[in-house]
């Protein structure tokens, strides 16, 4: 009897944690998103669906912008992160952990601080742009800061390890002999990569994509620090509504709209990549 109960008992702290810090707050937020009123008179449950229509009507531009930025940052992270993960897994030999550490080292510094340091790096007269302008390679009115590329690059930079590590993990445990098998079966290096290595590493790309896309889409630090009025992301709106305007129902409604859009995005993404199939292979 006790033996049967043991796994459940062991899982209990986890369940309690989830219930306390996930299910209860989510339920509270759902309830909050359907209330009316203001901070002074208090919020009353009125099942006010209007909060959702208002959220969609007023902030769809920021929502789509966030999705676009998140997607762009994810694609850039794949473009930079995949080759890095590949190189460390296949070519770094016994120095793998050194390179992984180097990759992670900047991330021991606080997220906000890192982003602010990017602000200095990218500022109009900073070490990069200032130098290029001084030697005449860039026009003097050229700016990166406060533009969409600054925000997207900041996002890609800040979440790069979340892309590299899952891809690295898959490539690292891959049986490298399958690459030899591909060569043995007349595949060129490119074909061996496209037909064997890449498909086998797709679960890593999928996981990395999720772990980059979700937080980048919901991020507000990069847009606030590196962006301008034209690059406001949905995260900033939620933050402003909640902490500045104290309009909790709207903030909660926007949060759920974002959550719904992300979930739809994730499921269609899984469909497109055929990840159920890929996952099954990994599970064996």
């Amino acid at each position: 009897m006790r033996r049967k109960l043991t796994p459940y008992l062991l899982a209990l702290p986890g369940w309690a944690w989830l219930a306390l810090f996930f299910i209860v707050p989510i339920a509270g937020m759902v309830s909050l998103s359907l209330t009316s009123g203001n901070i002074i008179t208090g919020f009353h449950q009125t099942f006010n669906i209007g909060n959702y229509t208002e959220a969609l009507n007023l902030y769809s531009e920021q929502l789509f912008r966030s999705l676009f930025y998140g997607l762009s940052a994810t694609l850039i992270a794949i473009a930079i992160g995949y080759p890095a993960a590949y190189w460390i897994a296949f070519k770094a030999g016994k120095h793998k952990s050194t390179y992984l550490l180097l990759l992670l080292l900047p991330f021991f510094v606080s997220f906000v601080l890192r982003t602010i340091s990017w602000k200095f790096t990218l500022s109009d007269q900073g070490i990069v742009l200032g130098t290029l302008k001084n030697i005449g390679l860039l026009p003097t009115d050229f700016a990166v800061l406060n533009t969409a590329p600054a925000v997207v690059l900041g996002l890609a930079y800040n979440f790069l390890p979340f892309m590299v590590l899952p891809i690295y993990a898959v490539l690292e445990r891959m049986d490298h002999r399958v690459v030899e098998a591909a060569h043995d079966l007349y595949a060129s290096r490119l074909q061996a990569f496209l037909r064997v290595v890449l498909p086998i590493s797709l679960p890593g790309v999928f996981a990395g994509g999720l772990m980059t896309f979700i937080p980048t889409t919901a991020d507000y630090v990069n847009a606030t620090v590196l962006g301008g009025p034209e690059t406001t992301m949905i995260g900033s709106i939620i933050q402003t509504q909640y902490l500045v305007n104290n309009d909790y129902p709207i903030a909660a409604a926007i949060t759920f709209v974002l959550m719904a859009v992300l979930l739809i995005g994730i499921f269609s993404y899984a469909r497109a990549l055929g990840t159920e199939r890929v996952m099954e292979v990994q599970a064996k």
Binding site: D175, R177, V178, E180, A181, A182, H183, D184, L185, Y186, A187, S188, Q191, R195, V196, P199, I200, L202, V278, E280, V281, Q282, A283, K284
Partner: protein, 396 residues
Amino acid sequence: MGDPVTATTEAPATPTAGPKTEAVPAISLSGVTKTFHSGRETITAVGHLDLDIEAGEFFSLLGPSGCGKTTTMRMIAGFEEPTTGVVRLDGDDVTDVAPNHRDVNMVFQSYALFPHLSVAENVAFGLKRKKVKAAEIKRRIDEMLELVELGGHGKRKPSQLSGGQRQRVALARALVNQPRALLLDEPLAALDLKLRQAMQIELKRIQRDIGITFVYVTHDQGEALTMSDRIAVMNGGYVEQLGTPAEIYEHPATRFVAGFIGTSNLLTGTAANPTSDGAEVRLDCGQHVLIGQRLTEGERADLTVRPEKITISTDAPDAGLSRVRGTVTDTVYLGSSTHYTVRLDDGTEIVVYQQNARDLSATDVTTGRGSEVWLSWRPSHSYLLSDSPQGGPHRA
């Protein structure tokens, strides 16, 4: 030549299965060496290799781990480039040709199946790269899956197959390309004993059916003896002996081969009374045995006798035989045979396998533990052993 093997064994030029013509060998290695660098150290994986493998032959590279057999195979496949020497396939120099342009295919030790592809897609992989027409690919996959008895499994994933089935997919994936030679790297090592024995017969059948040259790497002497037309026994990067399974078993050329293949008794002594067709060898324990090979007076000689060639008896054997006296220290009754361990005066132990032609249930006190017995064998069953070839490590 420089072949370290020819010094010890004059292996017949053609194996039983090879064609008797002056055909170009399917695979030919000449003067091949391979050294690796590990830090400041230089490791010699293959010391010096001259090897001709005939078309249609089942050829095994047999040896302990680190003997250079796998490196040799990888040089044939193109995964390793020889440090010196030339690799030829059907007479064409392919030393610098990349593996994807070499007309040989490999069955990997861990199979290395593509986990994301179905069985049929795995088998089709090589044909697709060669741009074979879709209808032709389908026909050949079906045919090949039938041959390896996996018909109807085409849609499964490797993860849904048993070890033996994966093994056969790996075989089909390589064979479907109709390579000039099939290279097999310890393909049965991961299977359990029963499956391994079944697959040995299976592999041999397939090889006979399709007539492709097989190069088989193994550390399992039983496997090599069962399947091969010829075997190269490797040790320390050199070939110790090259020959048919029977030659290698019956006439081991070096101490290493005698010790590595089967069980053998090693005796050491000094040659005496040489004649035109043999000599006596005075053992270190004082007794002497006869040998059917020429020796010069006073020469040191190491010789070997296989346990099943020895007869155990209580009566003195004929004078024309090699005969020694000793004490039985151990007997193991195995039903069809009995294994005896007999100790000579100086402590040398000799193992004897005796077929149980008589009913031993009632008697056999005479050859029980502690009894004094005679061991005898024909002079031609004593085999002189030589040192390992130049450069090869010597086994104590």
